[in-house]
Each structure stands twice: as C-alpha cells, then as structure tokens.
C-alpha cells in the first residue's frame, strides 16, 4: 500500500547559500551557462566514416598531419595508412588545403587521386584503399552533438556486442556493487584462435563474418543480465554477476564447445573456428583491486590457454 510521507522542511526561509549542496564547482556553472552563439560556422573538422572508430571527430588546427605516427595530430592506427599520410593546412585566408605526403596508397577526394587540393565542406576524403573521412565546417553545437553521440555510443558496429568504452565503465560499476554487497563477480576473456590466419587466408570479409557469427553465438548462450563486449580485434569479454567461479567455468566451457561446433560460411569459404578462454573472479583478488586487475587476471589465464594448445578454458578451478 502506497503511503505519502511529508518530510519536515529544513528551514525553508534561510537560503543555504554556503551549503555544499549549492552547486559546488563554479567552473562547472560557467560551463553550463555558456551557450554557444548560434550559426557561427567556424568549426572545421574531419569525421572518420569507416573502421571501428567510425563517428570519431577530429577538430582541425593550423596544421594537421594524418597518419599512423604517434605524433600525428590525427592518428589513425590502420595498417593501410602511411606513417605521415597526408595533411590539412589552414591558410591565413581561412581556407583548408589537403596535401598528400607521398603516401604509399594515395589520397583521394571523390574519385580523384590528388597531390594538393582545397577542401569544400562536405568533401569525402579517402586515404589508402579503404579509410574515408568527411571534411565539414559546422558550428559548435553541431560538432558537440556529434562528439557526444560518438562518446555515448556503446555498441560495436560489427558484432553488436558492447564496445570497450562501455565495458570499462560498466566493470567499474559492477566491481563497486560487488564490493559493497559482498557478491561474486566473474569475468571471461576469450579470443578467437588463429584469427589472423583466417583473415590472411580468406580475406577480411570472411574474418568479419567469423566475428559476427561468434558474437551471435555467444549472445544466444549468455543470460540477459550478462555484459558481453568486444574488447579488441578478436577478443571478447563476458562479465557475469553473482555467479560462483565453478559456474563461470561451466559457462566458459559451454561457449567453447558451442563455438567449436559451428561452421561459418561466407564469401564461398567454409570456416571452423575455436576460442580460448581465461576465467577470473573478483574474490581471487585483493580488496583494493578493480576492473583492470580482474581483466588482467583473466588475461594471464587466456594466455595460458593459448600456450597449452588453444581451444580450451583456463581458470583457477579446472573445468569438470
């Protein structure tokens, strides 16, 4: 039965201006109040249209080198790019010019391979065989929206599993919860065996099909409250709450056997894959340890599973 409780008011007349509850941080207030002037189209940016980070936005400065180099202003870690592939220069007159920096695989705008060309808002830039970016001049609000959408995206486009950013924030929350309530928290880290070989032999379209098939299979086997995420290229994590280590190992084995029984058909190729798994649980760690340590523990075991011949699960408790 619902009951309405009226709690006594705390001195309603005295404004508690010095209370900590009053908007603690002045800087944050200022940020909240600064509403961008509308329609000033003075934000030039490049947006990544392809790859795992599609949607990422890079604001443009005076000189912007794009490439694989660590010190490139726009660093895109993709093997088909040269170290310093191309650059965008903002000239004094406010125009932006794209230059190819003698890259191996070339720089294109639309259909044309270019050496140097002025950019127009909406231009699509292609670097090498597959990486595309869009050049745009927008206003602050639009750039901010795009950044927020990208930063708050949680799913990996290919497998529809959660992405790594979401996983890391979710692990932090689950560790806090498990510590507070003294509940169990298990983590499976697994990796598709010899995935590079599959990619090299059959091409990356088949590789993508394998990732998708493994993702689908695992999603179908876990419970709705388990958190399934793509951690890296062919590495995945399943975070399982309130499950004793023995059950976590059982789940790992179920996933392993199920994936091994699968046949992936794509692009005319027929591929069978296996996975290796490492299992860790929070109770094995010291009370200060957090999500990163939990992943590290599972990772050591995953590595052992690989060393011992792949297609197996490695955990503190051996599989029955």
């Amino acid at each position: 039965m619902a009951q309405t409780v009226r709690f006594p008011q705390v001195t309603p007349s005295a404004p508690p201006a010095t209370s900590e509850n009053v908007l603690a941080d002045q800087r944050e207030t200022e940020k909240l109040l600064s509403i961008p002037a509308p329609f000033a189209r003075d934000h030039a940016s490049l947006t990544l249209l392809t790859g795992p980070n599609a949607g990422q936005i890079f604001p443009l400065d005076v000189e912007n080198v794009i490439g694989r180099d660590f010190d490139a202003q726009i660093r895109i870690d993709d093997g088909s790019l040269s170290r310093a592939h191309a650059r965008v220069i903002r000239h004094a007159n406010g125009k932006f010019v794209l230059e190819d920096l003698d890259s191996t695989n070339g720089t294109f705008i639309g259909n044309d391979r270019i050496k140097q060309r002025e950019l127009v808002s909406g231009d699509r830039i292609q670097l090498g065989p597959k990486l595309t970016l869009r050049f745009a001049i927008t206003d602050e609000a639009e750039e901010m929206l795009q950044r927020q959408l990208f930063e708050s995206s949680t799913r990996d486009h290919l497998t529809r599993a959660y992405n790594r950013r979401y996983l890391m924030s979710r692990i932090a929350a689950e560790v806090a919860h498990a510590r507070r309530h003294g509940t169990e928290l298990g983590l499976l880290l697994f990796d598709i065996d010899q995935f590079k070989l599959t990619n090299d032999t059959h091409g990356h379209l088949v590789g993508d099909a394998v990732l998708r098939a493994v993702g689908d299979r695992v999603s179908a086997l876990i419970r709705i409250e388990d958190v399934f995420a793509r951690f890296g290229g062919e590495e995945f994590v399943v975070l399982i709450r309130d499950t004793p280590p023995r059950d976590a190992v059982q789940l790992a084995e179920r996933l392993r056997i199920s994936v091994a029984s699968m046949t992936v058909r794509a692009e005319g190729a027929v591929v069978q894959v296996t996975i290796s798994l490492g299992v860790g649980s929070l109770e094995e760690l010291t009370p200060e340890a957090g999500g990163k340590e939990l992943i590290a523990l599972a990772d050591v075991r995953l590595y052992r599973a690989k060393e011992e011949g792949r297609n197996r699960t490695c955990a503190a408790t051996p599989p029955e």
Binding site: P15, V22, A24, K130, S153, T154, R241
Partner: protein
C-alpha cells in the same frame, strides 16, 4: 585515377591485433595477450582492425536528404525526407515528430519538388519557422541549412551519401546519453532496467526505482525561456549525479522527468535516499544570467518486490503513479 580496388588491397593489409600465438620453447614468461595500450580507458584503435562498415563504391552520390535533430531529448535522431511531402510538428502521426513546447501540431512541411529541390513551408504555426536564424514563410533549403521550428527545436537539413546516413543512424541508435544532461537516455534505461529485473528475479535480490519530476518546470520555460530551462535541467542532473553511487543508473526519462535505478538496497532506505535527493534539489540555488532560481521536485519510489507482474514496465508504472501522488499531494515530496 580511380580509387584502387579496396577488397583486394584490404587483404594485403589485414593485420589483426598483434599475434598472441608465440610458441616459445620451454616455459613461456607470463605475457599478456592484450595490446600494450589496453589499460587506457580511451579506446585505442586496435591496429588495423578491419573495416567494419561496408565499403561504399568510389563514386558516392550525396542523394539522401536528411533532417537531424540538433537539440532536445532526441538530439541526434535522423529523419530521411523520402516522400514528396514531409510534415514537421507535435501531432502523433506526422513524419518528423518534435514534441516540444511551442510547436504546433502541424507546424511546417518540407516539399520535394519534381526537379529534386527541397522547399520548407510554415503551416501557419503559432511560433513560426526559421532558416539560419531568419523567420521564413517559404524557403528553399540548401545542404547544411539550420531549420528552427517554434522557440527552441533546431534541426539540420543536409544532403548526405548512404554511408554518412548509415553512420549518423548508427551513432544515434547506439548512443546512450541524453545530450543535454549527460544522464542515460530513455532507450538505455529501458534496455538496462529489463536486464536488471531479470537479474533481480534470478538472484532474488532487491531492485528499486526512483522517479522524479521537476515542479512547475513549464513555468520556468515559459517565463525565463528554454535556455534557462536547459540550465536548470543540467544543474539538477549534475547534482543528482554527485549523490548517487557508481552502480546506480541515472536516466532522463522525459522532458523534466528523471529515473534512478537502485540495486540491492532495502525499500525503506531507498525512500530515505530519495528524500536526500529531494532535499538537495530544494537547496540548490541555480544562478542564471541576472537572477537566481530555486526548484523542487516530486518523487515516487517503488520496488520490484511490490510488483505483482515482474517487469520493467510494471515497475515504472507503479513508480509513476506514486510520483503523481506526490504531485497532487502538494509537490516537493516523496511517495514510497
């Protein structure tokens, strides 16, 4: 020169995350299978993870006319203008539905002419239509134009290619945060609450929902303008974020309605916590440009154990009913 054949080039360059299958003779040193940067919270791009978005042909036509919501609860939402006529407004059956203050039911329309141009027309709306800040009755749209309908809803018109449209849709669909308050959005809340209900059922653990709605918020919007309203929402959200625990899920549920999902706490303590949040909001002094504003909120609290039907919808429904009780009981209070 045309772009090189990408699928062939792709094969040559398809390295995956550095190989982990090193066969060391003798006992191997404990070595990580993870890339060295895995500890970074940021997503470091894994080396050459292959293209995950299908590759478009070299020539890409910008033939998709799209409207993107730039603000409001559905910021980022994409509407494709496919029909000869697209109506924008508050009515339930219009193609581009913008449920915001000061929007007429059928506010404006965009007509695609036979020669492929797009023309925006005001449908005698109360608060008018603007293109790039100028009030218009009828105007032809150019790519990147900014369309404002009513006092606050802003959309961008753009001609994009298929890949850009796909990306915009995916980003929106996979987004989980409300752009204004940074709280989780309603879509994420629905998904997450469903999974939390399943978990609580299976493990017989506690699960509660707090819902609150700012009192007289419409008045703030009407008298101080929607910019002031936005600041109020952000300040309140920021304050609530400070009070909750890491594992609590805080979401914007509607215009000025918020939800907190609380796990593993006895019902009475959740009600006490809601009371703390209520008090804290009441004590906020929100500095706007030339004046200070104070707000209150009405709360509803309920727990899964009280629901006869164990579902996210049932839980939200009971909480909503209690919040309503707080409203009719005089606002600025908690009903649990």
């Amino acid at each position: 020169m045309a772009a090189p054949n990408r699928s062939v080039m792709g094969k040559n360059t398809s390295e995956t995350v550095e190989s982990v299958d090193v066969k060391a003779p003798g006992p191997p040193p404990p070595r990580s299978s993870l890339p060295p940067d895995w500890l970074d919270e940021d997503i470091a791009t894994s080396p050459a993870t292959e293209n995950q978005i299908s590759i478009a042909p070299p020539f890409v036509a910008k033939d998709r006319a799209l409207l993107t919501m730039l603000n409001g609860l559905n910021a980022g939402q994409v509407f494709r203008l496919e029909m000869p006529e697209t109506i924008l407004g508050r009515a339930k059956d219009v193609a581009v539905r913008v449920d915001d203050v000061g929007i007429s039911r059928n506010h404006a329309r965009i007509v695609r002419t036979e020669d492929g141009r797009f023309v925006l027309e005001d449908l005698s709306s109360t608060n008018g239509v603007f293109v790039n800040g100028k009030k218009v009755v009828r105007a032809e749209l150019a790519s990147a134009d900014r369309v404002q309908i009513g006092p606050s809803a802003i959309l961008r018109f753009a001609l994009l290619d298929a890949e850009e449209e796909e990306l915009a849709r995916r980003l929106y669909e996979s987004s989980t945060r409300d752009a204004l308050t940074r709280a989780f959005n309603r879509k994420y809340l629905a998904e997450r609450l469903t999974s939390e209900v399943a978990y609580a059922q299976r493990h017989k653990t506690r699960l509660s929902v707090i819902m609150f709605d700012l009192d007289y918020f419409k008045r703030v919007n009407d008298t101080r303008g929607h910019m002031a309203g936005d600041v109020v929402l952000r300040v309140v959200a920021l304050q609530v974020t400070r009070l909750i625990r890491t594992e609590d899920v805080f979401a914007r549920y509607g215009g000025e309605e918020f939800v907190v999902v609380v796990r593993g706490i006895a019902h009475g303590n959740v009600a006490l916590f809601a009371e703390r949040v209520r008090k804290s909001i009441e004590q906020l002094v929100i500095p706007l440009e030339d004046f200070k504003l104070r707000v209150t909120a009405s709360f509803g609290v309920s727990s899964l154990a009280e629901c006869t039907e164990k579902s996210a919808d049932a839980l939200l429904k009971i909480t909503d009913e209690r919040m309503y009780k707080s409203k009719v009981g005089g606002r600025n209070r908690v009903t649990s």
